[in-house]
Subunit: 161 residues, 4 copies
């Protein structure tokens, strides 16, 4: 049975929730295909981002059941992914074009439940050195409550061709 | 156009890579449906886990393109998700049944590239108190190289009914 | 030989640097005796602190050879002590009088060399919960360069009588 | 009044506790003078250390009132200093003689009260790269209870001449 038939067969007996998730998967594939998101994870999370002056990046994701733990709260790993992505994206913007930035460490304090309609992550710079960037990231839920705070270190290395 | 037709239509023009990803999505939906995985994220990652004595949990994920960053390396956020899940699952095993454990903080050191066929995360206990658990997690790639080390704190709270 | 004679005997053959250090020790004993500092460590570091609105604490120490590592740079452990003290002092201010705050974890990023005439540590609040406070601390040297950034968690517990 | 007279004058009216502290200060000056300790802080803490195979360092300090907070518990900053010193000393042992190791970040989990007669810190290696070392440190009190756990990153840099 080919893949289309497998999907069709699965969807015939799918619950409403499963159909929603299947729709989220399809949307994420399209976002990846169009280049709207560079990675499958970014596409699954529905990441959008915007640089703000000076040296601030705001990255936003909608809250979907895809991203939740079994208590229907944003999974701490997704919060970490959002923070790493936002701090890393900002790091890349701050370094020369022939360099790359890799996360060497990250620490996250989880301070409130991740609930609501969407999450905003604000990344900023703590220290910019020639070899290392130290970044800060904060995640807010839609009612503006801080849910997580992070600091991370990014090594600046030559970009592979 | 209903969802089945949308999937069929998407898959008609899909690249080989997109078909692979679509197959991964479908498999993850099935793992979630059967209860093999409790969350969509766990299902997308293909998480399996096994307790080892004494008080050790080993959690394994296959390496798929779904989990990679744009450099085809395991996304640091997925590494974080694996660590949080493994330490949290072990935490839940160590506390009374009427209690829950929530991550209050986690710090990760990323020490080598996440490449290879699969990743093993080994979670263990640093300190078990009556209110707080401090856990350690280590992620190894298939050639047994350590790729990440984490410590995390888990609050022990009454379980919601 | 009693303690006074031992000190006198030591100081007779002391280098200029040793005399300076002996003078710093004596000053610290006086600061502890008068209650200017509550602990010997605080007295040795010459800690002074001042609350600033809203919910900000500034703690200052002079740079002395007592506090330096073998490279004549502020010892990372002293930086940590300053950060823990400042964040902890602020935590105590924010909680009810019958409560105490204890550090459960702290993470420090060291970003520049600790040199200059003195160091200012600015502590502020990231999150204030009923059981846990998450604090931020920044240490600046006298030329206003950030040398260290920290986040820390403080448990709120009943005060012992 | 010269320094000897100032010390003599202070000691005439000193409490028993102050005399003990003055004796600790004098001992620490002697340990620094003989080179038993390389820094004043190390001397004040009474640090001794011993390498253990393979790539393990054990650093020990006695518990004295000099090192305690106002609750007569080992000051968290001193715990941090012990951890940074032990991990850093081990780092220096592992790198070529023309290199130095500097702490770039450290995270500590405090898990039990620092009480008892002395404290042992055991430092070991999590990852040894060509540019970065990631170390682990554990502090035990004299009854063998773990009181603190740390991880830290050390940059390997050319040694200044």
């Amino acid at each position: 049975m080919d893949l289309s038939h497998q999907w069709t067969s699965f969807l015939e007996n799918a619950t409403e929730e499963e159909q929603e998730v299947a729709a989220l998967f399809l949307e994420s594939m399209k976002r990846k295909k169009t280049g709207e998101n560079g990675t499958h994870i970014g596409a699954l999370m529905g990441v959008t981002s915007k640089f703000q002056e000076p040296n601030i990046l705001k990255m936003t994701i909608p809250n979907t059941e895809l991203l939740q733990n079994s208590l229907e709260i944003l999974h701490g790993g997704i919060t970490a992914t959002l923070l790493d992505s936002a701090m890393g994206t900002l790091a890349f913007k701050l370094i020369p074009e022939d360099k790359a930035a890799v996360t060497t460490e990250m620490k996250i304090n989880y301070v409130a439940k991740g609930i609501g309609t969407h999450f905003d992550c604000v990344a900023s710079v703590i220290h910019q050195g020639s070899k290392l960037l130290v970044m800060e990231g904060k995640v807010y839920r839609s009612d503006h409550t801080l849910i997580a705070h992070a600091t991370g270190s990014f090594f600046i290395i030559p970009k592979k061709r």
